[in-house]
Symmetry: C2
Subunit: 196 residues, 2 copies
């Protein structure tokens, strides 16, 4: 990795600045010129490293998905029973969304991403591999079992993803105590995963 002349490593600096901005000002506040300004480069500097805004957002999303996958994998590795592994993965899912809300929302803003970019495509498939793997593992010819596995996977993923999204959008305040939002949100998630 040869270093560019002027800024050391402009590409990495741009991505770091973009991540800071997106978590501070949200996806709407993430602008190509703003990122360049933040690192002291000219307004068209990002063009050389990412083609356009979609390119920058996609590369940033790829970084996000990589960390996302790592976080879930680590959480699952700390448990033994399949049930505990699944619950730990779900907790890691929501914790990531709460820790980096802007980045998480960017990662799931499909309209602004180019999913054919190699980095993003690979990071996404790795992040969701446990999910898709759970279905493909059931490569049995029993259609009922396959159907059930599909339904279970979709249910788990949808629940944890919807919870994260609704949380970030301040939509389930009626269900949460005001005061300690994050702690209470995780407590409710625990109830959702374990109760009944």
């Amino acid at each position: 990795m040869t270093k560019p002349y002027h800024h050391g490593d402009l590409r990495a600096a741009l991505l770091a600045a973009a991540e800071e901005i997106v978590n501070r000002d949200g996806v709407a506040g993430l602008t190509l010129r703003g990122v360049a300004r933040e690192v002291g480069a000219s307004h068209a500097a990002p063009k050389n490293h990412f083609d356009d805004l979609t390119g920058l957002l996609s590369e940033l999303a790829a970084i996000g998905f990589t960390r996302f996958a790592d976080s879930m994998a680590n959480a699952a590795a700390a448990e033994v029973s399949p049930r505990d592994k699944l619950n730990a993965t779900g907790r890691a899912y929501v914790l990531f969304a709460l820790a980096e809300p802007g980045l998480f929302q960017l990662m799931f803003r499909g309209e602004r991403l180019d999913k054919t970019r190699p980095a993003l495509n690979e990071a996404m498939t790795r992040a969701f591999s446990t999910l898709t793997g759970a279905v493909e593992a059931l490569h049995t010819d029993d259609p009922a079992a396959k159907r059930a596995a599909r339904a279970h996977a979709a249910r788990a993923w949808s629940m944890v993803h919807g919870y994260a999204i609704l949380l970030l959008d301040d939509r389930l305040n009626p269900l949460l105590d005001a005061g300690a939002p994050k702690a209470d949100a995780m407590a409710l998630l625990d109830d959702m995963l374990t109760l009944d």
Copy 2:
């Protein structure tokens, strides 16, 4: 409701055009000047009816939430058992998202909406009243029952919302057969609601 002089009812025309655009081009393609252009008005015409872009989006989201609430209420009214009512509500939730994807995504794009606008606030609380009502109905002093009710409500809402969002973002293709996306998506939802 007195009619403005020039365009009949510009306010309604702008909202109708905005809905058509958002379902055709997505939230990103919804622009104040574009909406004005669509109805043949000048670029600053919307200023008189909605203050700014946030105002237009919020009023449009209010319309969306009203129809959303109606759709869920109608679906629930057609069933008798509480369980069937809940499942029918969930199906209506996802069906609405599939029928008006742009509008649905706008409704849950919290950053661009002003939730303090009366129209939007009322429409939102009505749309989610069944959910919050289910929890408030349990105004018992039994903390365990309350906790369970909260968890069940959050689980149902999160699951159906996450499924709708992931669906619109083309994220659970690995779980769906290519070919008849909508029909298969609803079949999978049925399995999620009823299986096991």
